[in-house]
C-alpha cells in the first residue's frame, strides 16, 4: 500500500466494476487485433495458413514478452494500465489502415507487419497481469484469477464470433480497427474519469481525446483509405503498383505466375498468355500472304508484338498504345522483357504513345494486318474504340487484301456484347468472322476477324506454336449453341450499345 494513486483508487467498488468490465473489453479488442493482423496478412501476402499461423504465433509470443515485462512496472499500475490502453488504441486502431497504406510503399512489408504485431502483442500481454495486480486487494486470489480469466475467455469468444459474422462483412477491416481502437480509448477515459481528477492525469486525458479524434477521423475517411490501398483486391502478392495519368498498373506474382492488371482488370497471366496471344495474332497473319506492314492498337505489354515478330515475313510493326509508362515498364523491366522477348526494343518495331481514337483519324499509312487489343469496354471512354466510326477509320488503314482482328470479350459470359463487335464491323463495311479460344485465366475468350473481302481458311500457320495447329485453329471458328451468333445493335458513338450491354451481361454473370 506504499504507493499512490492506483492502489487507493482501486479500492473503490465503482472502479473495481469498471476494471472488471474493462477486462472483457480488453480481451475482445486483443483478439480482434490478432484476427485483423492475420486476415490482413493473408489478404496481402496470400497463403492464409502460413500467415495466420505465423501472425498468431508472433502475437502470443509477444503477449508472453508483455507479461514478463509487467514485473518491471513496480508502481502506479493503474496509470500504467491507462497508458497501455491509450497506446493500444492508437496502434491497434490504426493497424489495418496502416498496413493497407504501407503495403505498396514499404520495401519489406513483413518487417512492418510483424513489428506492429509484436508491439500490439506486448501491450496486450501487459494488460491482464496489471489488472490482476490492481484488483488484488478487492478480491481473494482464488476469486480474482477465476473472474479475470473468465471475462477474458468470454470476451475472446464474442470477438471470434463477431469478427467473421458482423465486423468484416458490415464494417470492413479498416473500420473494424478504428472501432476497437475507440473501445480501448473508452476504457482509458472511463478509468481516468473514475479517478479523482488530478493534475498529473490531464496529459493522459488530453492524449485520450486526441487519439479518439484521430480514430474517428480515420473512421470517417475509411473509404478513401480503402481506395488508396486497393491491394486488398488482388489475391496474389503485388510486386508493382503504379498510377499513371491514364490507369492503375498492378503486377502480381505467385510462384511462376506473373499477372498484369489495368484498373483492376486482368490483362494476362504469364501461365497461359501464349494461348491468348497466339489466338490473337496467328489467325490474322496466317490469312495474309505477305504481312509486310503490321499495326497493333493497344497491346503495350509487347506480347502481341512478340508473336508478330516471330514471323520473318513481317518487315515493320507499328504499335500504338496510350500510356508511355506502360510501354516503358515493359521495355525496361527484366522480368517483363523476358516475357515479351524484348519485342519493344526490336528494330522492326515503331512505338507510338497516343490515343488510338485520335491517332487512326490522322494516320495515312496502309497495313497488311491490324491487331486491335484494347481493354474491355468497361467505360464510355473505352467504348469509343469499339464503334462503327472507329472501325471505319481502321478499315481505311487496312489494305484491300489485309486482315484484322479485334479482341472482343467473352462470347460465353457476354454473347450479346461479343457479337455486337461483329455486327459493328459489318456496319463499317467489313466482312467479319468470329472465333474463340479457351484461356484458363480468362475463361472462354472471343476475337473477331475482319477484312474487305470474304475471310477464308488459314494458309500459312507456322509450326512450333504451343497452342495452334492447323486443326485446332479451324476448330476455333466453331461456336456451340450457348455462344452462337445472335442479333445485336450496331455500337455507335452516340449509343454506346456495347458499354451498356457489357456492363449488364458481366454484372449478371458475376451476380
Amino acid at each position: 500500500m506504499a504507493d499512490a494513486t492506483g492502489e487507493k483508487a482501486a479500492a473503490t467498488p465503482q472502479l473495481a466494476l469498471i476494471l472488471l468490465f474493462s477486462v472483457f473489453v480488453v480481451a475482445t479488442c486483443g483478439l480482434v487485433y490478432e484476427l485483423l493482423a492475420g486476415t490482413l496478412a493473408s489478404y496481402l501476402l496470400g497463403d492464409s495458413v502460413t500467415q495466420f499461423s505465423t501472425v498468431i504465433g508472433t502475437y502470443l509470443f509477444a503477449m508472453g514478452i508483455g507479461s514478463w515485462l509487467s514485473r518491471y512496472i513496480r508502481e502506479q499500475e493503474l496509470l500504467a494500465f491507462v497508458r497501455v490502453e491509450l497506446l493500444l488504441a492508437l496502434i491497434g486502431g490504426w493497424l489495418p489502415a496502416a498496413l493497407f497504406i504501407l503495403f505498396p510503399l514499404a520495401s519489406d512489408f513483413r518487417v512492418a507487419l510483424y513489428g506492429l504485431v509484436l508491439l500490439i502483442g506486448v501491450f496486450v500481454g501487459l494488460e491482464i497481469p496489471l489488472l490482476i495486480r490492481i484488483l488484488r486487494h478487492r478480491f481473494a486470489l482464488r476469486e480474482l484469477v477465476s473472474t479475470v480469466l473468465t471475462y477474458d475467455y468470454v470476451g475472446a469468444l464474442i470477438a471470434s464470433l463477431l469478427f467473421p459474422l458482423v465486423l468484416v462483412p458490415k464494417l470492413g477491416l479498416i473500420r473494424t480497427g478504428f472501432l476497437f481502437g475507440l473501445l480501448n480509448v473508452a476504457v482509458a477515459i472511463a478509468l481516468l474519469l473514475a479517478l479523482r481528477p488530478e493534475r498529473r492525469l490531464r496529459a493522459e486525458l488530453l492524449a485520450a481525446l486526441l487519439i479518439a479524434a484521430t480514430l474517428l477521423a480515420g473512421m470517417a475517411w475509411a473509404e478513401r483509405i480503402q481506395r488508396w490501398s486497393e491491394v486488398a483486391f488482388y489475391s496474389e502478392p503485388v510486386i508493382y503498383a503504379r498510377s499513371t495519368p491514364y490507369q492503375r498498373i498492378v503486377l502480381t506474382r505467385r510462384g511462376g505466375d506473373l499477372r498484369l492488371y489495368l484498373n483492376g482488370n486482368l490483362q494476362f497471366s504469364s501461365r497461359d498468355e501464349y494461348r491468348y496471344h497466339e489466338a490473337l495474332v496467328w489467325p490474322v497473319l496466317a490469312r495474309v500472304a505477305r504481312p509486310d506492314r503490321v499495326l497493333i492498337l493497344g497491346g503495350g505489354d509487347g506480347l502481341a508484338a512478340r508473336e508478330v515478330l516471330r514471323d520473318a515475313a513481317v518487315r515493320s510493326v507499328t504499335l500504338v498504345d496510350l500510356d508511355p509508362e506502360m510501354t516503358s515498364l515493359f521495355r525496361e523491366t527484366p522480368q517483363l522483357k523476358s516475357l515479351n522477348k524484348g519485342s519493344l526494343h526490336s528494330p522492326r518495331l515503331k512505338l507510338i504513345n497516343a490515343d488510338a481514337f485520335r491517332w487512326v483519324r490522322q494516320e495515312r499509312g496502309s497495313y497488311d494486318a491490324i491487331l486491335i487489343d484494347f481493354p474491355d469496354p468497361t467505360e464510355f471512354a473505352l467504348g469509343k474504340l469499339y464503334t462503327e466510326s472507329f472501325y471505319r477509320e481502321v478499315a481505311r488503314l487496312l489494305k484491300p487484301t489485309g486482315v484484322m482482328t479485334v479482341q472482343s470479350t467473352s462470347p460465353l459470359v457476354a454473347p450479346r456484347s461479343y457479337w455486337t463487335v461483329a455486327t459493328t464491323l459489318e456496319a463499317a463495311g467489313l466482312k467479319a468472322r468470329g472465333y474463340h479460344a479457351y484461356v484458363p485465366s480468362f475463361g472462354e475468350w472471343g476475337f473477331t476477324l475482319a477484312a474487305h473481302v470474304q475471310i477464308g481458311a488459314a494458309v500459312r500457320l507456322p509450326g512450333r506454336l504451343r497452342f495452334l495447329t492447323p486443326a485446332s485453329e479451324r476448330a476455333l471458328f466453331d461456336f456451340p449453341p450457348d455462344m452462337a451468333r445472335r442479333a445485336t445493335p450496331v455500337n455507335r458513338l452516340d449509343n454506346q450499345a456495347l458499354v451498356r450491354s457489357f456492363a449488364e451481361e458481366w454484372s449478371h454473370y458475376e451476380g
Binding site: 491514364y246 490507369q247 490515343d355 467505360e379 464510355f380 467504348g383 466510326s389 455507335r492 452516340d494
Partner: protein
C-alpha cells in the same frame, strides 16, 4: 457596400459556404491557382455609352455594305453574302477576335469553349442553317431524304448525368425517390410539352419552331407570352420540387434567367420547339466540339477572312437618302473614320444598336443576363458514385449549371488530364447588380467559388485542379421576359428594312445559335436585294 456584401454572400451560399464545410481538403488547396480573368471587352463596349469619341478624320470611305458586329449573327450575314457571290462588304468587330458568345480558348490539354458549346440537330424548318452545316461537312449525306450527321461531331454517349441524392444518375431529370405527386406532375408536364410540340396554329405553322420566326402567330399561343413561366406552372398546379428544379435549370441554362423572369412562351419553347431532323434517329442529338461553338464561328469566319477588320466598332450610324453614314472607331489607333455605305447591318444587341442608331432603333427596357464561365484544367477526370462521367454533368445540389468535359468528343482515354467548362448564370441578382459583381470581384474570388463548387461535388479532385481561367460575360444574352415574344414577329419584319438592317438573336428574344443565324441570313438577303444583287432565299 453592405448591400453588396450581402449579395456576395448570396452568391457564395451555393458554392463557397457549403463547400468549405464539406471539404476538408480545402485547406491544402488554399494555394493560389494559376489562371486568367478574361471577358468581353467592356471598356471598348462602354465607349459608345460614355461618349468621348474622337471626331471623324481622314477621307470619307465608300463601301457598298458594312456589317457591324462579328458574333454569330454578323458572321452568318457575311457567310450568306459570300454564299451569294457577294464580297464587296466589310465586317467590323469590336473585340480582337470574331465569334461573340461562341468564342473558345485553348491550352496544352485541350481546346475549350468560353460560352456557347453545342448546337442541337436543327429542325426541318432551319433550311439555311442546314445548308451551312452541309457545307462545313457536319452533314455528310442523306439517307431516305433525311440528313446524315457526322458521328464524330454528334455528342458521344454518355451525354448527361445528374447528381441527385448523393449519387450520379443518367439523364437530367431525377429518377430515384420521386413521390406519387412528383411522378404525376412530371408525366403531365411531359405530356403537355409533347402536345405543344405537335401543335399547329390556325395559320398552319407549328406552335413553337426553331428558328422561332417560323412559329405560329396564333393568338392562342402568343397569349402564353403574357405571363411568366412560373406563373404558368402555378396555374397548372405543378408544384413538384424536382419538376420546378428541373425547369429552373433549363431556364437558367438557355436564358440565364430564373423561371419567374421568363415568359411562359419562351419557357415552353425550350421544351416544345425541338424536332431535330436527321437520319438514324439522331434528331434529338446535339453537335458539339471540344472548343464548343467556336468550331462553327471559325468556319464561318474563314470564308470571310478578307472582309473582317477587328478592334473596330460602329459608334454612330445615320440613314439618309443615299444610304448610311457610319462612324467607325478604331480602338487601336483611337481614331474615328467615316464611311458612306449603301446599307449597313447592325449585328449587335439591341441596347447597343439603340445608342449607335437612335433614330432607327428605339431604346428598350430588356434585360441582359450576365454569366461566368470557368475553364478548369484538371490532372485527372472527375468520377463520383453511380453513373460515370458524361459530357454534361449537373448537380441538383449546386447553383451552378455544372460542367461539360472538353475532351469528351476527342479522346478515348478514361484517365489523364482534361478541361471542365463550368457555367454559372448570375440569375439570382438583378442584371445590374450582377454586372457590378463582375467588375468588382477579383480572379481569386471567382476561382475560389468555382473550386469549392467542384470540390463539393467531387472531393476526389482535391489537388488535381491545375488551372482555373475565368471568363466574364456582362451581357451574355437577352432575358426572354413576358411581353417580348409577342413583338418578335414585328421586330423581325422591321429589322430587314434597308438601308439600316438589324441582325441579332435578341430580335426573337431567344439567345440561340439558330436565332442569330436566321437573323443574319435574313438581313444579308434583304441587303442583297436592296443592292440589286440576285439572291434566292435560303429561308
Amino acid at each position: 457596400m453592405k448591400a453588396e456584401l450581402s449579395r456576395r454572400d448570396l452568391l457564395a451560399a451555393a458554392g463557397v459556404g457549403a463547400g468549405a464545410l464539406a471539404v476538408g481538403a480545402c485547406a491544402t488547396d488554399a494555394r493560389p491557382i494559376p489562371g486568367t480573368l478574361g471577358g468581353s471587352d467592356f471598356r471598348r463596349g462602354h465607349r459608345v455609352r460614355t461618349g468621348q469619341l474622337p471626331e471623324p478624320q481622314g477621307k470619307l470611305e465608300e463601301l457598298p455594305l458594312l456589317i457591324a458586329g462579328g458574333g454569330v449573327a454578323g458572321l452568318a450575314a457575311a457567310w450568306r453574302l459570300v454564299e451569294a457571290g457577294f464580297r464587296q462588304f466589310r465586317l467590323i468587330e469590336l473585340e480582337d477576335e470574331t465569334g461573340g458568345n461562341a468564342r473558345g480558348g485553348r491550352n496544352q490539354v485541350s481546346a475549350y469553349p468560353l460560352g456557347a458549346h453545342y448546337l442541337p440537330v436543327p429542325n426541318r424548318e432551319a433550311g439555311a442553317l442546314r445548308h451551312m452545316l452541309r457545307q462545313f461537312g457536319m452533314i455528310t449525306g442523306e439517307q431516305d431524304g433525311a440528313p446524315v450527321y457526322d458521328p464524330y461531331q454528334l455528342c458521344a454517349d454518355l451525354e448527361e448525368r445528374l447528381f441527385w441524392r448523393g449519387e450520379w444518375q443518367e439523364g437530367l431529370y431525377p429518377v430515384a425517390g420521386l413521390s406519387a405527386v412528383d411522378r404525376a406532375d412530371r408525366d403531365a408536364f411531359r405530356r403537355t410539352m409533347s402536345d405543344y410540340s405537335r401543335a399547329t396554329g390556325k395559320d398552319g405553322r407549328p406552335a413553337f419552331a426553331v428558328p422561332s420566326a417560323y412559329s405560329s402567330r396564333d393568338p392562342e399561343f402568343l397569349a402564353l407570352d403574357r405571363l411568366s413561366f412560373s406563373q404558368w406552372l402555378e396555374q397548372r398546379g405543378w408544384r413538384s420540387p424536382p419538376l420546378r428544379a428541373y425547369v429552373r435549370y433549363c431556364c437558367r441554362d438557355d436564358y440565364g434567367t430564373e423561371p419567374e423572369g421568363v415568359s411562359a412562351w419562351a419557357g415552353i419553347h425550350y421544351f416544345a420547339a425541338r424536332r431535330g431532323w436527321a437520319a438514324n434517329g439522331d434528331g434529338d442529338r446535339e453537335l458539339t466540339w471540344p472548343e464548343g461553338n467556336q468550331r462553327l464561328v471559325r468556319l464561318m469566319a474563314q470564308q470571310v477572312a478578307g472582309q473582317v477588320a477587328t478592334a473596330k466598332s460602329l459608334v454612330r450610324a445615320t440613314a439618309d437618302n443615299d444610304g448610311v453614314i457610319a462612324d467607325v472607331l478604331d480602338h487601336r489607333s483611337e481614331t474615328t473614320h467615316r464611311v458612306r455605305t449603301k446599307a449597313a447591318i447592325l449585328a449587335m444587341p439591341r441596347f447597343v444598336a439603340a445608342r449607335v442608331a437612335p433614330a432607327r432603333v428605339p431604346a428598350d427596357a430588356s434585360g441582359y443576363a450576365p454569366w461566368i464561365v470557368a475553364n478548369v484544367t484538371v490532372a485527372r477526370p472527375p468520377a463520383g458514385k453511380g453513373t460515370p462521367l458524361a459530357w454534361d454533368n449537373v448537380s441538383t445540389a449546386s447553383n451552378s449549371l455544372g460542367y461539360v468535359v472538353a475532351t469528351h468528343q476527342s479522346d478515348s482515354a478514361s484517365g489523364g488530364p482534361t478541361v471542365l467548362t463550368w457555367y454559372l448564370p448570375l440569375s439570382m441578382e438583378t442584371p445590374a447588380a450582377a454586372r457590378h459583381l463582375l467588375l468588382q470581384r477579383p480572379l481569386e474570388s471567382w476561382q475560389a467559388l468555382v473550386r469549392d463548387d467542384l470540390l463539393q461535388l467531387h472531393p476526389e479532385l482535391a489537388g488535381a485542379i491545375t488551372r482555373i481561367d475565368v471568363w466574364r460575360w456582362g451581357h451574355a444574352m437577352i432575358r426572354p421576359a413576358p411581353g417580348l415574344m409577342a413583338q418578335a414577329a414585328d421586330r423581325l419584319e422591321d429589322a430587314v428594312r434597308p438601308p439600316l438592317l438589324l441582325a441579332h438573336s435578341d430580335l426573337s428574344g431567344l439567345s440561340l445559335f439558330e436565332e442569330a443565324h436566321y437573323a443574319g441570313v435574313a438581313a444579308a438577303e434583304a441587303a442583297l436585294r436592296h443592292l440589286g444583287h440576285p439572291v434566292e432565299s435560303l429561308l
